[in-house]
């Protein structure tokens, strides 16, 4: 971990794939960058994915080298587990107040050996595995986390000092407290990513009540070889699912829950997860109930057809409701559109809800930025300057400007870095002229 300097050319908010790419592209052009991430590790959503569409590359194989590149870059400083308190315009740039949350571990001394984690006897729901797996009360977020430094979760810590006793470097620091930092920055790139609509958003689907109705990010973890189960199993009883359903637009294109827009990636990840299920269990049936299959990107339609040829059933239908029947199985009331709207009750033993994508963070006054009625940051000139926010000197990339797949996020991050670089040049030029 590098020492934090008093001034940076660019502040990147968010250490997901878009934020990392923006930081790399800005630092690549010679600027000093501070990357701030709220979680204890960089990597964002992508590092938790199993494979990525349409190439079925392993997600962490793509994401971890990026993370290492960011961590080792001479011109990038990384601050994990840190929130933005506020940024105020100052001179041509911004004064930024950050709040570094206590890890209770001295980052500089830790050697990432996880002896503390192994010494802790308590299990808490593991965020990285979407709660389906467990972790100790002190834990390294995951095998590919950067930094490889544990974080102590006081909510689950029983304060018995097992971890400190096990640490070979005496770096458990119970005296640590949140610390406020003030940094000057020339420009800001916001790449704060996404959240999904709550599992209970659509009452009739019972995502928050039925054990075997899963969220797609949890499914990614379940499909990963280093995931909570190591196999695809259902959460209610560890059964190998024989019939899996995907309910598309379960939180998108739906005015009733305030997400009227298309979440853009759900069709593709559903197809991808379906293929992965079929690869792991040839005899498991997978059905995708959808409104339209939006396979619009490069190679996506081909991927859609591949999924069908590999036995994934794609059915144009509306799912009215999901009810739990015996043994944790689920019954879906479905209106089959291509059969003239026939209504049927269909049983599955696992259901994945393709939830809507909503903004990962709202500025709430921390940044002088406007948001659109869709909740994402407003972009005044989305066609010609897609990375420029409503505030001068602040740029936006990735899902912060609307749902997006990984390639589009990465490309937009490059654009945001370019805009920030041009802005910094402009500011310097005028400062030079004034002097």
């Amino acid at each position: 971990m590098t020492k934090i300097k008093p001034f940076y050319d660019g502040l990147v908010l968010g250490g997901g794939i878009a934020g990392m790419q923006a930081a790399l592209d800005l630092a690549g052009q010679g600027f000093e960058v501070l990357l701030v991430e709220k979680e204890p590790t960089i990597g964002g959503v992508m590092v938790g994915l199993n494979k990525v569409f349409p190439t079925l590359d392993c997600s962490s194989c793509i994401c971890t080298p990026r993370m290492a590149e960011v961590a080792h870059h001479d011109r990038i400083s990384v601050l994990c587990y840190t929130d933005l308190v506020r940024a105020r315009r100052r001179n041509a740039g911004f004064e930024v107040i950050l709040r570094k949350k206590p890890r209770y571990v001295v980052e500089e001394d830790c050697i990432g050996c996880s002896l503390c984690e192994l010494a802790c006897p308590y299990f808490a729901p593991h965020e990285f595995d979407q709660g389906l797996g467990a972790r100790a009360a002190i834990y390294i977020p995951h095998g590919n986390a950067i930094p490889q430094v544990p974080v102590l979760d006081p909510d689950y810590c029983m304060l018995d000092g097992n971890c400190a006793r096990a640490c070979p470097k005496n770096c458990i620091d119970f005296a640590q407290q949140a610390e406020e930092l003030s940094v000057g920055v020339g420009s800001i790139i916001v790449a704060t990513g996404l959240r999904l609509t709550p599992m209970g958003a659509k009452k009739q689907y019972g995502g928050d009540r039925h054990a075997n109705v899963m969220n797609p990010l949890a499914m990614e973890r379940v499909q990963s070889s280093n995931g909570p189960y190591g196999h695809i199993l259902r959460p209610s009883d560890g059964k190998i699912p024989r019939s899996v359903a995907y309910v598309q637009c379960a939180g998108s294109r739906d005015q009733s829950i305030g997400v009227p827009y298309c979440s853009r990636v759900c069709c593709m990840y559903a197809l991808k997860q379906a293929i992965m299920i079929r690869h792991q269990r040839h005899d498991t049936q997978v059905t995708i109930y959808h409104m339209d299959i939006r396979a619009f990107g490069k190679g996506y339609e081909q991927f859609y057809r591949r999924a069908q040829s590999e036995g994934v059933r794609v059915v144009k239908a509306k799912v009215a409701r999901i009810t739990e029947v015996e043994n944790g199985d689920l019954s879906l009331r479905v209106e089959l559109i291509d059969e003239g709207g026939r209504v049927a009750d269909i049983r599955h033993d696992l259901v994945v809800l393709s939830q809507g994508t909503i903004p990962g963070w709202r500025p709430e006054g921390a940044l002088p930025l406007e948001v659109d009625d869709d909740g994402f940051f407003a972009i005044p000139d989305i066609a010609a300057r897609p990375a420029n926010s409503t505030a001068e000197g602040i740029f936006v990339a990735g899902v912060a400007t609307g749902p997006k797949d990984i390639p589009d996020s990465i490309v937009e991050a490059g654009a945001a870095a370019m805009e920030a670089a041009m802005y910094l040049d402009r500011v310097r030029e005028s400062a030079g002229e004034m002097a």
Partner: protein
């Protein structure tokens, strides 16, 4: 390094005070987890079992059993050892108690 050596025991004491000690709720949670793990270990003492089998032996819901068994598996206390129908079998690992 000129910094004085960290005294974690002292720090922990202060930390404990700052956290207001252990709440009853938290103590109960820890107790329940201990009991759950103990029950699962007992259920597995007789040999490998599936999640529904453990659930039946312990009288706990499958979801809870699965979660704890997977926790034990992650930290090397339980291992997978074959399959029975649509379920995997789990067994206690030596030295994993």
């Amino acid at each position: 390094m000129s910094e004085p050596k960290r005294d974690w025991q002292k720090d922990l004491k202060v930390f404990r005070e700052r956290m207001g000690g252990l709440s009853e709720e938290k103590k109960a949670w820890a107790r329940e987890q201990r009991d759950t793990l103990k029950a699962i270990r007992q259920a597995l003492a007789g040999g490998p079992a599936t999640i529904p089998q453990i659930a039946e032996r312990t009288g706990m819901p499958g979801k809870k059993v699965l979660w704890h068994v997977m926790a034990m598996k992650r930290y090397g206390k339980v291992a997978e050892c074959g399959q029975a129908g649509d379920y995997y079998l789990y067994e206690l690992k030596e030295g994993g108690s």
